[in-house]
Each structure stands twice: as C-alpha cells, then as structure tokens.
C-alpha cells in the first residue's frame, strides 16, 4: 500500500523550527531529488517531539531511528548512509548521559518521554460515552478487586502506602483522609467529588470528566466502600456542559450494568451518585464552602475543625476529593501501591497533570511524574516560549500561587518544593510568561480575580484584598507612592495570617512572590513611572519616528479607533487623545517607525 520505503520525519515544533528545521527539510527534499530518491523517500514535517533541548530532531521511519541536533549539513550524510546504505549515523544518535552509549531508536529511549499518563490514561483513548471501552481497559476491575478481595482497611492501607496526595491543591494525604472518614461513626456518610475546577487556566478536571468519567465513578464507589458511605455527590461547574453530559451518561451506564446501585457485583455493597451544580463561585472549591453550596446555601466557608470528615454534608461525615485524585485510584489498586510509589519524589508520589498555557508553544494538558523539572516541562514538553521571546516566569497554583523565575527552572516539581519556592501546586495551572508580561499587572490580575471571588465573610479577605488591589492598581497607573511596597508586604502577611479559609490565606501569594522576584519592576513603576514590560498602558504611549515612517498607511488602516492620521508617502501621526494603546500600529509597522515610549 505504501509507496514510500522510507519516511523522514522532521520536527516542526517551534523549538526545532527556530533551529532551522525548515531549512533541513528543504535540504532533504533537494538532495532526494538530486539522488533520484524522491519516489522512495518522503519528507514529513511533524509536531513537537518534546525533546526540544536536543533539537532539531529527525526521525527515520519505519526503523524509528532518532537523530538529534541535526543541521542542514547533516542531511546528505543521513541520505547517503541511512537511506542508501541502511547504516545509522552514529554521531547523530542520542547518547545516554549515564552509559554514554548511543541509543539507536526512539523505542529504546523512552526516557525522552517526559510524560506518564496515569490520571489521563484513558483520555483520548476511549469513547467516554461507551462503558465497554472503559471496561476493556481494566475499567471497574479495581472496584471488583476491592469489593471481592479486599477489606476496606486493606484498600485504605494500599492508598496510604501509595503516597497519593490530594490533587486539588492542598496535597493532604488521600489515604489518611479516607481513614479519618472511615473511623468517624455515622448512620449516613457521603463521598463527594469536587469538580468545581475554578483556577483560571486549569482544566484537567474537565478533561478527565469529558474523557474518562467512569474512572471517577469507579473511584467514588471504592471510596464509599472504604469509608462506609452509600451516597456519592459530584459537585460540578455548571459552565462545563459537556462534562456534565458525559458524566450523566456514564452514571446511567454504570447503573445499567449494576456497577452503581444496590448489591454491586454481588458484594452487598450499595452505592449511587448524584450530581450537584456549582454556579460560578470559585470559593466553592474550598470544601466547607462546597458543602454549603450543595446544601443550597451561599457558598461561604466555615472554620475547620470540624472537618467535613466529621461533620460535612447535612452534618454527616463526608469525604471530599477532587477529580484528578479520584482518577488515580483505580490504577493504584490495579497496579499496586508500590508501583505507584515508585514514580515521583520522596514526599510526592505519582504524577501531576498540568494545564500548560500562556506564552508557550505547546499549550496543552500534560501529565508528568512528580519531580520533573520546570525546565523539562517548559522546554521539552511545552516546546519553549512562543515567538522565541525570553522566558520570564511561570505561574503555578493559580490565584493562590506564585511566580517562579529562571532560578527555579531546575527545581523538581513537587508539593513541598513549590511551597518552599514561594508558590504552590494548586490544581495544576501552569501559566508561562515572557518578557512582555508585567509582573505588577499579573499580580493585579490575580488580585482582581480573588476580589471578585472572595465570599466576603471575613474582613481581611473582603477588605484587605480590596486594599491590596487598589495599591496595585495605582502602581500600574503610575500613581504609586513611596511606602506602597511596604504596605503591600504588611497587608499581605496579615491577610495570609488571619483569613478564614484557604482562598484568603493564599490570596496575597501572587503579590508576595512577585515582590520577592521582581522588586525592580515595582520600583520602576513607582519611582521612574515606567513599565519595563511595556504592558501598563497608563505608563506608555506610542509615537511615530518621523525619520523611519515611509507613509505606507498600514498603521492608519489598522488603527481600530482612527487615532492615526497622515497622507500616503508622508509621515503619520498618532493623536494621543484618541489612542487606546492597543499596540496594533506597533505590531503592523514594517519599518520599526512606531515606538513605545
């Protein structure tokens, strides 16, 4: 069927592209033509291989030989040796840093695969609306194993041994949480799945529910078996209609198979699941607020203790875990705690899903073992910074987290390292920022989010965050005052120290972390009235450099507000009173005749 004997795959990922992969492709095509091989050999440009540090990468098919650091000059040798003579070009092969040996093909160098998909194991593989496909991939086997072969204590023990910690942000040991709920006496207990994913820029829970809803259902049932709960509730964002629909279908199918309901798998264990909807309140990710919301109340958190495991939904013992946490459970049961614990770092086991976004090439959902470095995530998986710009920081932990700079690129990611670096794991948003992002504006952005999402119950969060925001706002508007930085610090510390719930206790983190890493930017705003990243509009204006302007009218034609005037072939002018500082003229000008001052 295939006409070509050999295919040359050239990485077209942005990282490699900037390192001349286009050029390499052209050289290959020319050479093949020259050698008269163009009917036998095909050149294909692919997406990112995720090994950008070693790029440009060329992969030969069908034998999967993997060449690294390929330059246009290497093309001829590859054709002569590999294509014609069938011999690998050893010097272009990847050398294992430990053994110093060359690795011939990608099959034997799976360590280049930085990701391991545990929580996402079925996402993108199975039809989420077909329970049989889930079962074919060991679905519900873990539940069967628990009900048929293990006592609740044994299951809890297995989870504890696995070292799994809550993936919703806090990182509380999951097994311990289950154990506490199991030990509390209660006539009725509840198992809750927190699917009120709300970190701006995190969407792994949605993806899991959309791609593999049964894994959550199965785990909740296992949790019910362990803790003695017969009712499960999924608290899900109403803004996720597709996830809701797939979850509903999955629950229905599980009921039809008797995998939910009474006497599951003949074990005498009863369990069923209901769906509750969030309604657009980020604070409902906090478990006490979530429970109040499920009870039909305002989602205001209450002081802990009592913890939900003692007094939760309707005052009954309630175990709350998030979607990603649940998605790990069946694998732990099926493959064993030891297997799971072999992945990750000493105190953080397994993998973590991140939503990689921002100024990065390969925006997407990734799952890496705990302990992977930020550098690997950003450069190898993420394909580096968009547009070849300079990396400035990566923000993790959403509005509760902080910025991590260059200095932390080689820090292995786990719960504890991120906290000591001044950020946190959070639910797994990872927003990459480049030189164009103003860190004061970013801090303000997060504060604005917190401000809108604060429930208002406690004074430090309700008023303190407003004051923080106001100070940041005036700094970005060039109205910063001497002493503002001191105020930001003191206020942040007090808000952290005195707020009622996790939202308030972490809300100043973006401020504190930007202050500690980017003090110079704050000072530039306050003292020099300048935004180094050129993002704070009040502090910048666009002007035409008369000598460079050719009068091409491109800026004039693109200005959305008609602020630019000028005749063809004569110098154009920007009317500052009309200019909205959108920067379109700056981007469109081909002659660098518009500058930001």
């Amino acid at each position: 069927m295939a006409e070509y004997n050999t295919q040359i795959l050239i990485c077209g990922g942005t990282g490699c592209k900037s390192a001349e992969s286009d050029e390499i492709g052209n050289v290959f095509k020319d050479l093949l033509n020259e050698y008269g091989l163009d009917d036998d050999v095909q050149v294909v440009v692919t997406g990112c291989f995720g090994f950008c540090e070693k790029g440009p990468i060329v992969k030969m098919m069908p034998d999967k030989t993997f060449y690294v650091h390929v330059t246009p000059a290497d093309a001829e040798e590859i054709i002569k040796e590999h294509v014609v003579k069938g011999r690998q070009v050893d010097r272009l092969l990847y050398k294992d840093p430990k053994t110093k040996k060359s690795v011939s093909d990608s099959q034997h160098m799976d360590f280049y695969k930085k990701q391991i998909r545990i929580a996402l194991r079925n996402c993108g593989f199975i039809d989420p609306e077909n329970i049989d496909e889930y079962i074919a991939r060991d679905g519900y086997m873990a539940l069967g194993k628990c009900l048929g072969e293990m006592t609740p204590e044994q299951v809890i023990d297995e989870i504890k041994k696995s070292g799994l910690r809550g993936r919703g942000g806090g990182g509380f040991p999951t097994g311990l949480k289950w154990e506490i709920t199991a030990k509390v006496k209660g006539d009725q207990k509840y198992v809750v799945c927190n699917a009120d994913e709300g970190d701006p820029g995190a969407f792994m829970d949605r993806s899991i529910l959309e791609g593999d809803p049964h894994s959550v259902i199965e785990s909740m049932a296992i949790n019910g078996y362990c803790t003695g709960a017969t009712k499960g509730l999924v608290y899900i964002r109403a803004e996720y209609p597709l996830a809701v629909a797939r979850l509903k279908t999955a629950i229905k199918q599980a009921r039809e198979y008797g995998l939910l309901g009474t006497d599951i798998l003949g074990s005498g264990f009863d369990f069923d699941i209901e769906i509750r909807y969030g309604a657009g309140a980020f604070v409902c990710g906090e478990e006490t607020a979530l429970i109040h919301s499920m009870e039909g109340l305002r989602g205001e958190p209450t002081f802990k203790p009592p913890f939900p495991s003692e007094s939760g939904y309707l005052g009954k013992p309630t175990n709350v875990n998030n979607v990603e946490t649940y998605a790990n459970i069946p694998v732990i049961i099926n493959k064993g705690a030891e297997w799971f614990a072999s992945i990750g770092t000493e105190k953080s086991k397994g993998t973590k899903v991140f939503a990689l976004a921002g100024k990065i090439n390969n925006v997407g959902l990734i799952e890496v073992p705990m302990g992977t470095t930020l550098r690997e995530v950003i450069y190898d998986i993420g394909g580096g910074i968009k547009g070849g710009k300079k990396f400035k920081a990566v923000q993790t932990g959403g509005p509760s987290g902080g910025m991590l700079t260059n200095d932390f690129l080689d820090t292995p990611i786990d719960y504890d390292n991120l906290i000591s670096a001044g950020s946190m794991m959070g639910s797994g948003g990872m927003i990459v920022m480049d030189e164009d992002d103003c860190m004061v504006a970013i801090a303000k952005f997060y504060l604005e989010f917190t401000l809108e999402e604060s429930c208002g119950k406690c004074s430090p969060c309700r008023i303190g965050n407003k004051r923080l925001f106001e100070i940041l706002e005036r700094i970005t508007e060039g109205k910063g005052e001497e002493g503002d930085i001191h105020k930001l610090r003191i206020l942040s510390e007090v808000i952290k120290d005195t707020s009622l719930c996790g939202l308030g206790q972490t809300s100043p983190n973006p401020v504190l972390s930007s202050l500690s890493h980017f003090m110079d930017e704050y000072e530039a705003h306050i003292k020099d009235g300048r935004c180094p990243a050129g993002q704070c509009k009040a502090l910048l204006k666009y002007e035409v450099v008369e000598e460079k302007c050719t009068g091409c009218t491109l800026c004039f034609r693109n200005c959305p507000v008609g602020a630019i005037t000028g005749e063809r072939r004569s110098v154009h002018y920007i009317d500052q009173s009309l200019c909205i500082k959108c920067g379109v003229c700056f981007e469109k000008c081909k002659f660098d005749a518009i500058v930001m001052v």
């Binding site: 999402e453 208002g456 119950k457 008023i463 303190g464 007090v494 120290d497 005195t498």
Partner: protein, 583 residues
C-alpha cells in the same frame, strides 16, 4: 467529662472538652477582644461566624493565627494572645474594617454605645494606613428602624437574629466579596418587607448600621406646644432598664426616678402602661373564660388556644406568616393602645378636652410600638390614639439633653387615675408575665375562689418554650409560653397541624420578653443584663400591695364609670381590634 489542659499566655488552665479558647481565656481573666462574636447564654443565642478576625491568637505549631471564638481548646495547646504578631494582625484587621466604615462617629446615633468604636479605642488605632473605596448603600427608613448599611461590618448578628432566632427571614447576606452586606431581598425597603420591627437586629448591631427611628424631637415639640396637654405612659420594662443608661447596675428599679424625670421633662400627666396592662387582663381574661366556657360546652366554632396579643411585632409576624390563624389570638389591643384609647376618650372627657388637644406619648422598650401606634385602626379621624412612642434609649437621651441629673432625682409617684396599677400589670414586662397575670385573674373569676398563692413559678424562667398546667379547681388549664418568634413559630405550627393541646399561649417577640426589647439599653452581648431586669420586674411585683388586675380599684372604677363590663359594647369599640392578612 473529659478535661483539657492548655496554657494561655503561659498560664495553665484546665477546661471541659468543647470549651473554646476564648472561653478558656475568659475563665482565667484574659480578655481577648471580640467583635462579631456574641453569645447570650441562657437564651441559647450564639453568633459565631468567625468573620471579623479580631480575636485571632497565636497557637504554637500552627501556621496561621486562630480565631479564639471558634477554636476549641485542645490538649497541650500553647496560646499566646498578645504577641507582636497577634497584636499587629488584630490592629491591621481593625484598620481594614475601619477603612470601609464611615468615620462620622461624632454624629452617629451609636456614638458612645458602639462596639466598633470601643474596639478601635481599645486597640489604640490612631491612623488608618489602608485607605480606599468604601461600600456605598442607600439609607432606608421605615416606621421603626433605620438601616444605614454603609456602617455594616458584616458581623452577621442581625442576620442570625432575624433568621435563626426570630425566623422572620427579612435579612440575609447578599452579594459577594467587597460588596457583601446584610440587607433585605432586592435591597428593598424594610417597610415593603415582612419585617416585624421586633428590633432584635438593632439590639445586637455592633455599629450604627441599624438604629431606631428617633422621635424625640417631635415629643419635645409637643411638650413646648402650649395648646397641647401631653400625657405620657411608661411600659413596665422601662423601669427595670433605664438606670443602665445612667451608669446604674443592671436590674436597678428606677420607677420613682423615672416618674420624677418625666415630670421634669414637662409632661402634664405621668401615667403608667401598667394600668392599661391591668385593663388588658380584664379583657383578655374575659375572652379566655368566654372561649373556655364555650369550649367546655362543646361549641364547635370556638377556637383554642387563645394567644396573647400585646406584642405588636408578634401581631405583625402572624399577619404575614400565619394569616390562616388570625382568628386565634385575643382581639384585645395591646396595653399601649388600650392606654391611648382610654386617655383620648375617658381621660380627655375628664379633663374636658378634645382628643386633638391631647398628645399621648409612650415610653417603650420596643421598636415595634412605633409601628403599632401608626397603624390605621388605632386612630380616630386620622388622630392616633398614641401619638409618639419613644424607646427607653430615646428617653435617656431626652433626660440628658434636658440637663436632668437622673441619679440624684427623688422618687415620685405616678399620677392618678391612669397611673395606678397592680403587680400583675408590671410583670407584663417579662416573658411569662402576661400569662401569669391572666391566670391570677382568670382563676379567681372562673373558680370564684381566692388564689392560694400568687406566684406561679412554673410560668417563669428564660427557656424559649415553657409549658405548665394550672389546676383551675379540677380543670387542668394547659398554658404555653414562647418568647422569640422562632419559638412562637414552633407552637404555631403545632396549632396549624391541629396538634396543640394548649388552652392559652403567651407570645413575646423578644427573647426575655419586653425587658429584652429592641428599644432597651444595649446589652452588648451580656445575657445577665436581661436576667437582672427580669429579677427587678418580679421584685416590683412582690412589692405591690395589690397584685391582681381585677382588684385594681381604678380599673373597677373605669368599668363602672365608662366602659360597662369587659367585652361589652364600649370595651369592644375601644379596647379590641382585628387582624389583617398580610401574606
């Protein structure tokens, strides 16, 4: 009982399990400041949202500061209440709260009585470092209560009183974040809502966000109007609380000084609502015996239990929430309105004046009385039976404005005839008092015998719902008592469900009855104050020579000269009323 050992500021303390750090600290004389927290012990009322964060303390080993009010003491805990960290945090939080609060203290109704002001003073706040936007809400004035929500600090006490204690449900936290505030639905005016004007929200508000409508200026105008004869009545609960406004110990009876003060203010006649309370017992007692008698004869139309109707907030409550039961309460008007009706008819006649020339002012422990005297049915041709109702607090303010040194006043007596009353009249001021007064009279009228004992201790106390059976010479009369509208609701729902076995029920809206009214001096969260007022009321009762309403000679005279007999035509016209469906 499991005991817990901990140290607070290096002092060891042993407390029962379940004790909070705040309570443990208090027990060894450490006074941790609180703002949103409020606990009225014997009344079972607690507000503990953990929202203001003023009471934060340092707990060794914990990452964050902990709110003392909702942190339970735990074994081995080491608490520090005044480290630099805790003090700074507390002061900063206070500054934040003040940064979103108007600073017009000098002219605020609550000045001098404001918990927030006190706390700012106590924490030594001299500067607000974090200034910024303040929440802006419009002011809302109703017949009894003013809401100035810009002053709300979201302690949620009013919300708790309105919902959990009173189950009226007018107030709720609304909006979110910086815009969060406590308000009625759709931020509507209180007078469009189902508010009963019980005033318990005002009684607990730590700031000037909720205050009473002030009618003192109108009263002063009347006092200085030479064409008017100004008659004043004072409710029983006022005499047990007014002294507090002048630094006297809670529970000090100041009846004589109260009369003296009113006279010095220029009232032409200083009368007593207790007189009208005795009158109420005559009418309500007669109604009870009438219904009871018909019931015993098997009349199917008669409705029991009979419910007291002295409390205007309670009346408004059932008109909104239980209009289907509006035939059950006694039709007797409240003592305030009976007084007004008699003053502007019987007494006006005696003076030879027209009702328009009389101004009737009442001194009430209550905010709903302001609303009650404005109800249309209590006016003749637009002239109200009671012109102005002012609260105990407003009276204190009038006395202060008028340069009267209250504590040095001599004791004086009420004027006659509408100032003469019995011990039964005075106990109207406490929960259980109305029904005890009714029983004293009804027993003797029903059985024709003298009471063997006058004090019915089984009807007294502070429990929210009390039940007792009184032997009416072989007839067991089942009495119920509820104070606090939430408790009333429970009894009403039993009635609605046909499960009530009571013959008579006394209902008072305010916890403790009128002594705990919304117009009384602020208790600042100290339930003992209310208990002491109750003791004062019972003391006043036992000091009286006549303690049964039907033995009040001036009441007898009133019937002889003017009213005829209880439930008679004239009595019906002047002393009874009807209720409206307001649902």
């Amino acid at each position: 009982m499991e005991m817990i050992n901990l140290t607070i500021d290096n002092k060891p303390v042993v407390v029962k399990k379940g004790t909070t750090v705040l309570e443990a600290a208090t027990s060894i004389g450490i006074h941790i400041p609180t703002l949103c927290y409020m606990k009225l012990d014997d009344l079972n009322i607690e507000n503990k949202p953990g929202g203001c964060r003023i009471c934060v303390v340092e707990v060794k080993g914990r990452r964050n500061l902990a709110p003392a009010c909702c942190t339970d003491a735990a074994e081995g805990m080491e608490i520090s209440t005044h480290t630099i960290r805790a003090i700074n945090a507390r002061r900063t939080v206070m500054e934040l709260i003040l940064s979103d609060h108007p600073s017009d203290c000098l002219i605020c109704a609550k000045s001098g009585n404001c918990d927030l002001q006190d706390m700012a003073h106590r924490l030594g706040i001299r500067e607000i470092h974090y200034k910024g936007a303040q929440s802006m809400y419009r002011e809302d004035t109703s017949p009894a209560i003013i809401r100035e929500i810009n002053k709300c600090i979201l302690c949620r006490r009013c919300e708790m009183m309105c919902n959990e204690v009173q189950t009226v449900g007018v107030l709720s936290a609304i909006n979110r974040g910086f815009d969060a505030v406590v308000a009625p639905a759709f931020e509507m005016n209180l007078d469009h809502s189902v508010c009963t004007y019980c005033g318990q929200c005002v009684a607990v508000c730590p700031t000037g966000a909720l205050t009473e409508v002030n009618n003192t200026a109108a009263v002063v105008r009347a006092l200085y109007d030479p064409t008017k004869t100004v008659v004043v009545q004072t409710a029983p609960a006022v005499r047990a609380a007014l002294g507090e406004e002048f630094g006297m110990e809670a529970g000090t009876l100041v009846t004589g000084k109260l009369v003296a003060a009113l006279r010095r203010l220029g009232f032409d006649y200083v009368f007593d609502t207790d007189f009208a309370a005795d009158l109420t017992i005559m009418e309500e007692g007669a109604e009870l015996l009438n219904r009871l008698g018909r019931h015993l004869q098997g009349d199917p139309d008669v409705k029991l239990p009979i419910l007291t109707s002295c409390c205007p907030a309670w009346v408004k409550f059932f008109e909104h929430q239980f209009p289907d039961l509006k035939e059950i309460p006694s039709t007797a008007r409240s003592p305030q309105q009976m007084f007004g009706a008699i003053a502007k008819s019987y007494f006006a006649e005696k003076l030879g004046k027209k009702r328009e020339d009389l101004v009737v002012v009442s001194i009430m422990p209550c905010l709903a009385k302001k609303y009650e005297c404005g109800r249309d049915e209590f006016a003749v041709d637009g002239n109200p039976d009671v012109d102005y109702a002012i609260t105990t607090r407003e009276l204190a303010s009038l006395i202060k404005i008028s340069n009267i040194k209250f504590t040095s006043l001599p004791n004086e007596d009420f004027d006659s005839p509408l100032g003469e009353s019995t011990g039964a009249g005075v106990i109207f001021g406490t929960t259980g008092g109305v029904i005890e007064a009714a029983v004293r009279t009804a027993y003797e009228l029903y059985t024709g015998k003298d009471l063997p004992r006058i004090d019915f201790h089984e009807l007294r106390g502070m429990e929210g719902i009390r039940k007792a059976t009184i032997d009416f010479n072989g007839l067991p009369l089942n009495i119920g008592i509820a104070h606090g509208l939430g408790n009333a609701r429970q009894l009403l729902e039993e009635i609605r469900a046909g499960k009530s076995s009571f013959h008579a029920i006394e209902i008072m809206s305010c916890p403790g009855g009128c002594i705990g009214g919304g117009g009384q001096p602020y208790h600042h969260g100290d339930a003992d104050v209310i208990k002491k007022r109750q003791m004062a009321i019972y003391k006043e009762d036992s000091n009286k020579t006549i303690r049964k309403s039907h033995e009040n000679p001036y009441i007898k005279k009133l019937y002889e000269e003017f009213l005829g007999k209880p439930l008679g035509h004239k009595a019906h016209e002047l002393l009874h009323t009807q209720y409206f469906d307001r649902s």
